[in-house]
Amino acid sequence: MLTARQLAAERRLIEASKQQAPNFARLYERYFDRVYAFALTRTGDRTSAEDVTAETFRVAFQNISRFEWRGVPFSAWLFRIAANAAADLHKRAAREAALGERADEAAEPWDLRFIEAEERARLFELVQRLPAAQRNVIVMRFGEEKSIKQIARAIGRSEGAVKKLQARAFRTLRAWLEESND
């Protein structure tokens, strides 16, 4: 939940983006993780999540001048765009193939999935706060889908050292999540 001060800051950022398009990059930086997490939860796979995320920011970027501030977080607008993009994706998928898992997923209660998306976004954000060595391992393992062996080679450490960094990262993330849930 955004505070009044954060909402005011967000509004200034949106106004700046309307006046100068390049300022939209700051909105992009701020909301990328949440939009992606929303898209990933909604679609269930990386490729589709990337498609939905890309479409969401393209549409938002093209229409930022039409966005009217009504005190509702900017993210709500982005999520609406993302939901539409995900729905379009489902329709296309349904047209191109038999109705499969995606259609089933779309039928699940979205309020529960939304909480999942927010938790996932929170986790993505927490990853960025990890010490650099741990963060690198997590990003390579889960963002770049590298194996422990590949990571070890990439960073010049032993596989055991990589597993240790991974374990530390997981325990740190879990502790942070528990703190924020208290």
């Binding site: 001060r5 954060q6 800051a9 200034r12 950022l13 390049p22 939209f24 990059a25 700051r26 992009y28 930086e29 701020r30 990328f32 992606y36 990933l40 796979d45 990386r46 999540a49 990337e50 995320t53 890309a54 920011f57 393209r58 970027f61 999942e116 938790e119 996932r120 986790l123 993505f124 954000e125 990853v127 960025q128 706060r129 650099a132 060595a133 963060r135 690198n136 997590i138 990003v139 393992r141 889960f142 963002g143 770049e144 889908e145 590298k146 422990i148 590949q150 990439a154 596989e159 055991g160 050292a161 597993k163 240790k164 991974q166 374990a167 997981f170 325990r171 993330l173 879990r174 999540l177």
Partner: protein, 426 residues
């Protein structure tokens, strides 16, 4: 094998989650921790984020925007046989360079194409005396830091005695070339011709004649002290024409396209010992900067600075010129790292490297709060050895910050400072 069996068990459990297999053999606590993998699975790749940003904001290039001439070098990470390849590396260079960064996160540093970048020198050139007061740094909540920024490799022109003398001749500087190859100079071998640089006239009646210095690191300095503070400043058209004629005569830009811009007048004459008794009555020369086309603002990159008097005479010039021949994307420090760097590098008044502004209104023996109002990625030239030795030069991204200094809850000064944006944590 790891030396901690739990690390192994956790990895096995994570693997099981990622592959959909059974997570056997792990205790409940390990399984609970491993379940985070469910949500981390599919997390965005930094390459996708950079690529999308580059697609959305293709105009977001600042430094040396005419990059079609460059070889964009993919990092080893990007060149790895993963789904996203060189196209992403090409696309990933754009976003960060001009972001006024308010705080997102970088994703840490695997070795990029140039390896570990040299870090620009952090030496505080003029430490603030008695600056024992501690600085507590605050970052504006609206700031978003980019995840990455391109670094550039410059092809420095070769500086030889022959080329040096051709330039001197074009400028009408005569005499015998003195060669300093002692290594004592800041930029490799130095060449000097013309009047003694130690001669610094402080009035129009004193003359020393023109001189030219050049070092094998590419930097040069030209002075024609005969005209110092002699005439009122010229109009813009005269200044620009004089600058263009001078540059073209010297061929210092090697035929590269360049742009000229008039700079704001200085608040004092450039030579410290030339400060007149009555500054208000002094006519300052016009200041012109020449930069590569597309380099929209001063960024510590290739540039030639010229001072021109009212008669259209170039009375001094300096700088260096080089052509970028490659670039590579580098991850830059995130918010947490920036805070740590500020505390480590600029934690007291004595360690402030104040580039613009005046903190004399502050009590430097007492603690203060530095509120960072804005953060911008700019660049600094640095050689692979971290000094100004000749040869290869990289343009390395740094964070430049505008700061509002507060004491007792009141703003007492504003200034700009910088810290490295890449390199080892501090």
């Amino acid at each position: 094998m790891t030396d901690h069996p739990n690390d192994e068990a956790l990895d096995d459990a994570i693997d099981a989650i990622l592959t959909g297999g059974p997570a056997s053999g792990a205790d409940d606590d390990t399984l609970a921790v491993a379940r985070l993998a469910t949500h981390l699975r599919g997390m965005p790749s930094p390459e996708f984020k950079s690529r999308l940003a580059a697609e959305l904001f293709p105009q977001r290039r600042s430094f040396l925007g005419r990059t079609p001439l460059l070889n964009r070098i993919a990092s080893r990470r990007l060149a790895a046989p993963i789904a996203l390849a060189s196209a992403l590396a090409i696309a990933a260079v754009a976003l960060a360079a001009v972001l006024l960064s308010p705080f997102g996160g970088s994703t840490g540093g695997t070795a990029e194409a140039f390896g570990e970048l040299p870090v620009p020198a952090e030496t505080v050139t003029t430490p603030i005396a008695n600056g024992t007061g501690a600085i507590t740094w605050q970052l504006d909540e609206r700031a978003v830091l980019p995840g990455s920024a391109p670094a550039y490799r410059l092809a420095m022109p070769e500086v030889t005695q022959s080329r040096f003398e051709q330039i001197a001749q074009a400028l009408g500087v005569t005499g015998t070339t003195e060669v300093d190859n002692s290594g004592a100079g800041p930029g490799g071998i130095g060449y000097h011709i013309g009047s003694d640089l130690r001669c610094k006239p402080v009035s129009p009646g004193e003359t020393c004649g023109p001189s030219l210095d050049m070092w094998t690191n590419g930097w040069f300095s030209y002075r024609n002290d005969t005209a110092y503070i002699a005439t009122p400043a010229p109009g813009d058209a005269t200044a620009l024409a004089a600058a263009r004629e001078w540059i073209d005569r010297t061929r210092l830009t090697n035929g590269d396209a360049y742009e000229l811009a008039i700079q704001p007048p200085p608040t004092f004459p450039e030579k410290p010992d030339g400060v007149p008794a009555d500054p208000a009555a002094t006519a300052f020369p016009a200041q012109v900067i020449a930069q590569p086309v597309g380099q929209s603002e001063p960024n510590n990159g290739p540039a030639i600075f010229l001072s021109i008097d009212g008669s259209g005479t170039v009375i001094n010039a300096g700088g260096f010129w080089a052509r970028p021949d490659a670039e590579s994307d580098y991850r830059v420090h995130d918010e947490e790292q920036v805070k740590a760097d500020l505390a480590a590098l600029r934690g007291t008044f004595a360690s402030l490297d104040v580039e613009a502004g005046d903190v004399s209104a502050a009590d430097v023996t007492r603690d203060a709060v530095a509120h960072v109002a804005s953060v911008q990625l700019t660049y600094r030239p640095v050689s692979p050895t971290g000094d100004e030795s000749p040869g290869l030069i990289y343009m390395v991204p740094v964070y430049t910050m505008k700061v509002d200094l507060q004491q007792d809850g009141k703003s007492v000064a504003g200034f700009a400072t910088w810290i490295p944006a890449t390199g080892p944590a501090r």
